[in-house]
Symmetry: C2
DNA sequence: GCCGTGTATTGCGCGATATAATACAAAAGT
DNA sequence: ACTTTTGTATTATATCGCGCAATACACGGC
């Protein structure tokens, strides 16, 4: 899986990595049990520090998305815990996005279409 | 309009203010041309620094949501520019939210319902 | 042993955030 | 004219998150 970092973004690098892996799992690009690149390999590939990748992996581990194993590296968890609800922070974010789109004249159907697209 | 600040949030205070005003405009709670509280009044009410509120107002002004006038204070713009498209950053955020929800076992209909709710 | 994992540590620099304390320019009220 | 109130600018300070650098450690295969 290819990780792309946007240096202009205000989202921290370790968060961008975390987010892209989460989206990869959701889309199926990253299968359950699949090997993730090693922290050093990914850091080298992207051109960033090792600890930054490690920070992303630790976050993913804490959130239950992946498992880290000495010495097999990191793998996508086969059993990911399902909370079954959307956290308040994400609801607030969604509301902000919807509000901004509405004000700027975007059709509601367009947002629904995006949700549909990202759901696959 | 009542502004509530979550000190535990990682979202900066000035950004929380900005977001809530944008959502207020979208929902209609803040009508076009409506007076906003003065920076000092809002700062006093929330219990924060004056410049923090000013920073939120400056951002809203730059984005075209409000107008600031010496000495009438700040008002919601009557003509807000409609870009007509969703910025990439918001699309990425939306995709992240959808992905996380999907993994955690949330139904797609639930997200659609939230979009519907926030759209009003 | 050796090597490759993730991880911990220490230190550093940088920028964003938020505060405090003043001060200023402009417009309205008296 | 003077005062008041508005947003805004300035200067300084403290804190925190982020990212990097350089090392080192614990563990488990080979």
């Amino acid at each position: 899986m290819i990780i792309r970092i946007d240096e202009l973004s205000d989202v921290p690098i370790y968060m961008q990595i975390r987010n892209q892996i989460v989206m990869g799992i959701s889309s199926g690009e990253l299968a359950a049990g699949e090997q993730l690149p090693t922290v050093r390999a990914l850091a080298m590939e992207i051109g960033i520090n090792t600890m930054t990748v490690s920070k992303a992996y630790q976050l993913l581990k804490t959130e239950g998305y992946i498992m880290t194993d000495r010495k097999n590296g990191a793998r996508v968890r086969t059993q990911i815990q399902k909370k079954g609800s959307i956290p308040e922070s994400n609801k607030t974010e969604l509301r902000r996005i919807v509000s901004e789109a509405r004000i700027s004249g975007v059709e509601k159907a367009e947002i629904i279409a995006l949700v549909d697209e990202y759901w696959r």
